[in-house]
Amino acid sequence: MSAVLAASTPGGLLLPAAVLVPFVGMMLALVLGARNVQRVAALTIVAGLGVAIAIVATAAQIAAPLEYVLGAWAPPLGIVLRADGPAIAMLLAIAVVVVGVGLYASGDFATPKGAPEERAPTVYWLLLLAVWGSLNLCFLSGDLFTLYVALELVTFAGVPLVCLDGKGETLRAALRYLVFALAGSIFYLLGAVLFYGETGTLDITMIAERAHASPATFAAIGAMTAGLLAKTALFPLHLWLPPAHAGAPPAASAVLSALVVKGSFFIVVRLWFDAVPALPGPAAAQLLAALGAGAIVVGNVLALRQERLKLLVAYSTVAQIGYLFLMFPLALDPATGALLRGDALTAGILQAISHATAKAAMFMAAGMIYAALGHDRIADFAGAARAAPAAVLAFALGGVALMGIVPSGAYVAKKLLLDAADASGQWWWTALLQGGGALTAAYVVLVLFRALARPQEPVAPKKPADRTQAVATLALAALSFVLAFATLGPLPDGLLSSAFSSKELLATAAILGAGALLAAGLGRRRDETAPAGFARRTALGIGRAFECADTMLRRWPVAGISLLAITSLFVALMAAVR
């Protein structure tokens, strides 16, 4: 019997609870109607946060990953939910972000007493819970097919969030997102099917034991990875992201940018680190990080070129997704060429968590600035710091957290990656990690420079700031500095003691200075045609070239061919280094 049945670890029941609580809340809210939807959502969010904290506490107590074997059926016939370190860290971070976003949304999506019930608030709360439950399944499932279903659920819940206002432009953005995501999901499914054909199982730990180098396995890894990248919107497969994330209402953009893309990212991590750590090899890992490098450069430059704040933040997400993939070549074991679960993976998860809190805060801040000024044109931001001080402060904090400046979570991540790059002699990633901070700094400096400028006439806020929203936004931005440490146990010695040395402070100043220079050269100005010096003209030329490249890459046929090309490249590189 023992071959068929298996036992769960203590506290294992918490894992299905983490997935089910949001979905049960969603069903209840659906039944109880629009009047009660917000109350049910609030209760569900509190319960879900409780479950996440309980999982963290139990895992710390038994000092081992939690497992729950559904119906006690052992794999390959049964399905296992598994919460290891990275999964638990993501679970807790996402729960905290959901709390913050929920508090913010209670201002935008409330149904006041006596007011007519509206569609958008009801749908928003239902979808927020659905996204949360599906993401938890992405983090916990140990089975490739369950992950496929989870991935689809995340997309199905995310797409309608894009078009909550029901306008033509956002409907188009939502449809683009859905159709491209479907292409990604079918690639993923093709890979999963090939894995089953090769190994006779879909359980990740069993695949790790059984998978061996063969053309079909390489094709499976290539197709799955490319499909997941399409869903994560890693450059050059980002055609759907900017319109979708910029068009949604702020509370929905925060969910899409901070949370939804993390689901497919996490499955790439599961696939590469847990299912087939020895198979991708160095060349494929370099390609993955090279795509990330492209995302960082193009995303950041495009962010500088945007007229509107929400599009700037959306392009900043394109760039930040790139950072998440830099860890792959740095996690390689130099001796065997296999991926190791070490400091580099810790750094990647840290970046994902810091980005979740910081980006949620930045989109929420953008929403508050829009509410206060009545527009979000960056060129006309003069006086914004007076009209919406909390929002501008939160935007600055979130931006600083993304840059990787002391003492944010992204700083620790960057430090860990730099050490790994030094240790393995991959100097090109050192250069990118150092330069990437300056690129991120550029658009943050640009926005703050405009927002802090003295207005020609005093700017009165169009709408007084909602206190709950301000507190939620500031709290999430501040959490970017502490949450990462709370979720990931002990760090290497001396990492933080050296954080405030004069060398580090000098590096911080260098990042900010280089960012300011970039912002001055490349940043969009109100009048782009005004006569300018040679330096500015050159910079503008470069900026326009990037814009052209981005427009071309975001065409459908080009993106489709990129998807195919990336799949084949992965397969070829894996086979070539064998």
């Binding site: 390959p76 016939l77 097919f145 496929y148 279903v149 689809e152 997309t155 199905f156 797409v159 078009c163 206002d165 029901g166 306008k167 033509g168 432009e169 956002t170 409907l171 188009r172 939502a174 449809l175 683009r176 859905l178 159709v179 479907l182 292409a183 999901s185 079918i186 499914l189 093709l190 099917v193 090939l194 089953y196 054909g197 006779g200 879909l202 055609l239 319109p243 068009g247 007229e307 509107r308 929400k310 829009y370 527009h375 979000d376 427009t551 975001r554 065409r555 459908w556 046929p557 489709g560 061919i561 195919l564």
Partner: protein, 110 residues
């Protein structure tokens, strides 16, 4: 050539035709049909794998068959959602183009 191999080749052909359709057709409805073609190819491939993996005495491996049903349901749900969005898009703009229209600078939508 055995019947099973033929099924495998047919699956590959369906995936290829679907991918081609997805790439070259600008119309979202055609892209959706192409997506379903690729999906059917993948499902057929799964059936092929199930047939190949059968134990002696059992017609085929039952696990892929159970997963196939789930896959078909998911693909159907995805198609339904996409068609609904497409209808809404046509209702509100009169067009079904997915082309990226740059938002005009006067567009107040945020």
């Amino acid at each position: 050539m055995t019947g099973t191999t033929l099924v495998g080749l047919l699956a590959a052909a369906l995936v290829a035709v679907g991918l081609y359709g997805f790439l070259v057709n600008p119309q979202p409805l055609r892209k959706l049909i192409a997506f379903n073609l690729v999906g059917n190819g993948v499902f057929l491939l799964f059936g092929f794998i199930a047939e190949r993996g059968g134990l002696p005495g059992i017609g085929g491996d039952p696990v892929p068959q159970a997963l196939l049903i789930t896959g078909i349901v998911v693909a159907f749900a995805a198609t339904a959602l996409a068609v609904t969005l497409l209808l809404r898009l046509h209702e509100s703009t009169g067009s079904t183009s997915l082309a990226d229209e740059a938002p005009s600078p006067k567009d107040p939508a945020a």
